[in-house]
């Protein structure tokens, strides 16, 4: 027991060495992203912000932290990282570029202690009913509209069949399972054949290599079964790369990936070297396009010209900065003094020159309630060798917004 007391005393002593950091910027913005291995794009977004406004460590404005690679089982760490950001008295806005599990609880805790901090979430992985209560603004790719638009784009390009590849864990995520249902419905309405294929879960015992191998080996059989005029869609990022490789080589269509970006899958699948153009999105798009065309897949493969994760990271930070500079506080969000849709589209547009965005508020399928701080966004689809598809001009029929996962 005595030993325990000595330890506690030592710990207490040691904690007193902690000191505050000197700061030059008038206020700070905190941003949490994944690591390079988890999600490169949002990390690059945070780096862009640091490039523009400086790191807190050097007297700048941005304080960047990352969440653990296996965030789903280390929720405590996610919470600690975010709450730790609020320990800084100059902190005025916090952005979670990926709303991994734990973000909501962390935001609740921050709210209790620091009601003056603006809290933003990009790409929420938790239940929208939770996140929208805890954060001031939550954005997400509009998977509901995209469910229809991806199928529509496939039809425009001449596909007759649509194949959706996924596995049970993903199908347990509300938005993914709902998007799948919408795609099936859209196929029915647009006169296409819909099919579901199951692939192994990369987090299971087969691991990422096994799951990728499965796609590589299975793809020829799928193409045989469904024909060349088939568009493929897959919910998992790791499995996208082999899928792209096979589509480029053997035929079929690939409209856009789950989280579209020219960086997702393409460089690996087509062997594109992007090291000299890091962070320069138009240049990246050009190189990938050249590679796709060289493979003879022009007009069959597409993406978003600007990665959603990257744009979210940098745009949410920019929006936070702008609002804080305008003297806005979370109270203003509550009182409806901020046009959220306008602010979001403006910030996103700023970092994606040339690409159109569309935004609409999320409507909960079961209660019919529209959430006024949860804009869903999508960018125009860019088909390599063909250009923008003007999908932002398409009108998504209302019925798809009430389709549920079953």
């Amino acid at each position: 027991m005595k030993r325990g007391i000595v330890f506690l005393a030592l710990i207490a002593l040691v904690t007193f060495f902690a000191g505050g950091a000197l700061a030059d910027a008038p206020f700070h913005i905190g941003i949490m992203t994944g690591t390079l291995s988890q999600s490169e794009d949002d990390l690059r977004g945070a780096e862009k912000l640091i490039e523009m406004y400086g790191d807190v460590a050097n007297g700048g404005m941005i304080k960047h932290v990352t969440y653990p690679d296996n965030f789903s089982s280390e929720m405590e760490t996610v919470i600690a990282q975010l709450v730790g950001l609020a320990d800084d008295p100059l902190m005025k806005a916090i952005v979670s570029v990926q709303g991994v599990p734990g973000t909501t609880e962390a935001y609740r805790k921050i709210r209790e202690r620091r009601p003056d901090i603006i809290l933003l979430i990009g790409m929420s992985q938790e239940d929208p009913n939770l996140t929208t209560q805890a954060a001031d603004v939550v954005t997400d790719p509009d998977n509901v509209a995209r469910g229809y638009l991806i199928v529509k784009a496939a039809q425009k390009l001449g596909a007759k069949t649509f194949v959706h590849i996924s596995f049970p864990r993903h199908m347990s995520i509300e938005l993914l399972s709902r998007r799948r249902a919408i795609m099936e419905e859209a196929c029915k309405d647009l006169g296409m054949t819909y099919a579901f294929e199951t692939a192994p879960d990369p987090t299971s015992d087969v691991g990422i290599p096994g799951a990728q191998q499965f796609i590589l080996e299975k793809f020829p059989a799928w193409l045989d079964k469904y024909g060349k005029e088939t568009a493929f869609f897959c919910t998992n990022d790791a499995q996208t790369e082999p899928l792209l490789k096979r589509v480029a080589e053997m035929g079929g269509f690939f409209i856009e990936s789950d989280l579209p970006s020219p960086l997702l899958g393409y460089p690996g699948a087509l062997g594109v070297d992007l090291s000299s153009v890091q962070g320069d999105w138009p240049a990246i798009l050009k190189r990938v396009e050249d590679a796709v065309v060289a493979k003879g897949a022009a007009g069959r493969m597409g993406t978003w010209a600007f990665s959603f994760a990257y744009t979210t990271g940098v745009a949410m930070g920019e929006m936070g900065k702008k609002l804080v500079e305008e003297g806005k506080t979370p109270e203003d969000f509550k009182n409806g003094n901020i046009d959220i849709k306008k602010e979001v589209l403006e910030a996103y547009g700023k970092f994606s020159p040339g690409a159109e965005w569309n935004a609409s508020f999320y409507t909960d399928a079961s209660t019919g309630v529209t959430m006024k701080n949860y804009p869903l966004l999508y960018q125009d689809t860019y088909i390599f060798g063909k250009g923008y598809m003007k999908m932002t001009d398409e009108v998504v029929p209302d019925k798809y917004f009430t389709v549920t996962g079953q």
Partner: protein, 370 residues
């Protein structure tokens, strides 16, 4: 007998000391304020100690560090899902969750005990694998059972396909009810007194339990199964009881943990419960065969201190946010490996010392050592 040399003390507490030194170096680097750190530590002690304490009884019974508690955590989670669905709120909800988790954990604990009795001496790895296996069963129940077999009233918890629980559940009804029940403010620090009272009661239970006949039997079984058996102690039964107690208490521990966190990650929340609890205990200076209440408190404190400060310290040290995260992973898990290695090393040293008595009086020093 009591005159242990300074070196012995150093060796037998190597793990906590290394951790303390690392933390001492990392705290100033992290740049966190003192009050923030103390608040974090207080919160985390209240949140985690109960779970870690549930490990003590099987260790006393010689069953090693036990991942069987993961099963208890699953029991607690199923209870919390049910209570949230029924919308039983406040302290009533929390108590009801504990009550529901009891029979579930009891059954799971009995199962674990039966299996571990068939794998004597390999309890740690067996229970680890059992945890994996039961994880599958748990996922099956939660992903398919709820809404298909077990009626779910609150459709906000279900996937919109009509069955299966969503991957994150808002525990609004029971969120922090224990913590807020008796929140005492000491300076700027909020202390969840009720949680600490529960933990204190648990400690008293352990102390009392050690004085019962059953506790005595468990210690006997833990030290020498064969002797205990020849003395007429029902060894297998005693071991099963030890696991059951641990599992049931781990269920309560998980409920306390979740009410503090406030949201439940339906499919992963229990996974970290086992590994973090065991890591805390090891860092507190416990070994596979011996653990005390002091180990629990010191361990939880040090482990979580490291957890909080190391990412920021790593960031300051290496200048990049993600390197901070890798630094934390490296430090936290590296130390667990170190703890296990040091334990093995110490056992070998003890064995070596025993052999000294075999040596002849004037034996030449063995030049060939080993």
């Amino acid at each position: 007998m009591k005159n242990k040399s300074f070196k012995d003390i150093l060796i037998s507490n190597a793990v906590p000391i290394i951790f303390l030194v690392l933390s001492a170096a990392a705290i100033p680097l992290s740049g966190f304020t003192t009050s923030y750190l103390i608040q974090e530590m207080v919160t985390r002690m209240g949140r985690n100690c109960f779970l870690v304490l549930s490990l003590l009884i099987p260790i006393a019974a010689g069953m090693g560090l036990n991942f069987g508690m993961v099963l208890g955590a699953m029991g607690g989670q199923i209870a919390i899902i049910l209570v949230t669905d029924w919308n039983i709120v406040g302290m009533q909800g929390l108590l009801l969750a504990a009550m529901i988790s009891t029979p579930i954990s009891l059954a799971l604990g009995w199962l674990t005990g039966e299996i571990l009795n068939r794998a004597k001496g390999r309890e740690m790895v067996t229970s680890f694998m059992l945890g994996f296996f039961m994880n599958g069963v748990y996922q099956f129940i939660v992903l398919y059972g709820f809404g298909m077999v077990i009626p779910v009233e609150n459709h906000a918890m279900l996937l919109s396909r009509g069955f299966g629980i969503r991957n994150a559940i808002n525990l609004q009804g029971v969120r922090q009810v224990l913590d807020k029940f008796l929140m005492v403010d000491i300076g700027p620090i909020h202390v969840p007194m009720a949680a600490f009272i529960v933990i204190a009661l648990f400690c008293l239970f352990i102390l009392w339990f050690n004085r019962t006949k059953l506790g005595q039997d468990m210690r006997a079984v833990g030290q020498d199964m064969a002797v205990a058996k020849s003395a007429g102690i029902a060894v297998d039964r005693t071991r099963i009881i030890a696991i059951i107690i641990s599992t049931v208490l781990a269920g309560y521990g998980q409920i306390i943990f979740l009410q503090n966190i406030g949201t439940m990650n339906t499919y992963n929340a229990h996974e970290q419960a086992g590994i973090f609890a065991i890591a805390s205990l090891l860092i507190g200076g416990a070994t596979v065969s011996r653990a005390t209440i002091t180990n629990v408190f010191v361990g939880v404190m040090l482990f979580h201190l490291m957890f909080v400060v190391s990412p920021m310290a790593g960031k300051t040290l290496m200048g990049q946010a993600q390197l901070g995260e890798y630094f934390r992973v490296f430090v936290s898990y590296g130390i667990i490996a170190l703890a296990l290695v040091l334990h093995a090393l110490r056992r070998r040293m003890d064995k070596e010392r025993e052999r000294q008595s075999l040596r002849g009086g004037d034996a030449p020093a063995p030049a060939n050592g080993h």
